[in-house]
Symmetry: C2
Subunit: 158 residues, 2 copies
DNA sequence: AAATATTGCTTCGTATACGAATAATATTTT
DNA sequence: AAAATATTATTCGTATACGAAGCAATATTT
């Protein structure tokens, strides 16, 4: 019964996820990078030079995912991987001039329609949207933090 | 300037997307189906028998995606594909008893922590969350409707 | 110093997720 | 009725996205 509403929440989220994905496909046509690539690349440019792991933390993606995004960025000559000197496990990532150029045109990380609509909202409305999203996010990933340490302790052997 | 807030919106959305994805991986271990599979499967069970295209509309996924989800559901013997008699382009999908069984244990389509927290909220708060999400969704996919050729007419038709 | 653990990144396997192209069937137009 | 158009599902190619396992380098313990 109340489940119906939860289902609706999920459907709304799926709509949002899909919209973001479709935007990503448009980005790649207009700017040559997908949404996740743009997100990562923007971060790299801000840092000038940054280890891959820090990137993953920052953009909330797993290392494995970031590695594959970097692969493609490297293939397109948007980034360089430089083995770190002080810690040879680390790989430092740097953006190329070509990548910087892309961001001169400020590719919109979300659909422009959304951005302009959002900016037109009253301040309290913007805050409401953002805080609602953050609240949902913490309702969803709170568990992770609490649950994961405990679940792994007992298998000391592994 | 105001872009900062938009970026924060994106980060919050990414957190949510990731949480949903991680939940999906937990679902498959506990119930044998992933999140999207469960979503689709639930719909199929409700319908008893339904063409693949209707499913795609309902759950907000492309046909191509639904096809691949159905492939896996079929491989695990959770659904059957039955060629439609009256329209041979259509493929009707039906859930098997094994699939029905899974839903007897009511696999949570979102993380249980979220669901229980959500249900504890006051009614007006639940409505606020849902309507905020729906609003974001329509701010994001509104463009689609304008941009795509034939969806503009649809108001009265379907 | 040697053994062990941890860290940082990559590789592998699996599952979304999409558009474009394709194939088969229906519907509409001529 | 034949031709043109539209609809339905699949196939193909690409890009996320993750955990687990692997590997090499570093840190910690013994």
């Amino acid at each position: 019964m109340n489940n119906e509403q939860v289902d609706q929440v999920l459907i709304a989220l799926r709509r949002i996820i899909r919209a973001i994905d479709l935007h990503s496909k448009k980005l790649v046509q207009q700017y040559g990078v997908t949404g996740p690539q743009a997100l990562v690349l923007k971060r790299i440019i801000d840092y000038k030079e940054v280890p891959a792991g820090i990137l993953a933390r920052d953009v909330n993606l797993s290392q494995a995912t970031v590695t594959s995004i970097l692969d493609r960025l490297e293939r397109h000559d948007y980034v360089q991987r430089i083995p770190s000197q002080d810690d040879k496990r680390k790989v430092l990532v740097r953006a190329t001039p070509a990548a910087v150029k892309i961001f001169e045109n400020a590719p919109p990380l979300l659909q422009e329609e959304f951005i302009s609509a959002y900016k037109k909202l009253e301040n309290w409305e913007q805050n409401l949207i953002l805080s609602t999203l953050q609240r949902i996010a913490s309702m969803m990933d709170a568990k992770e933090i609490e649950a994961s340490p405990f679940l792994t302790i007992r298998d000391a052997t592994e």
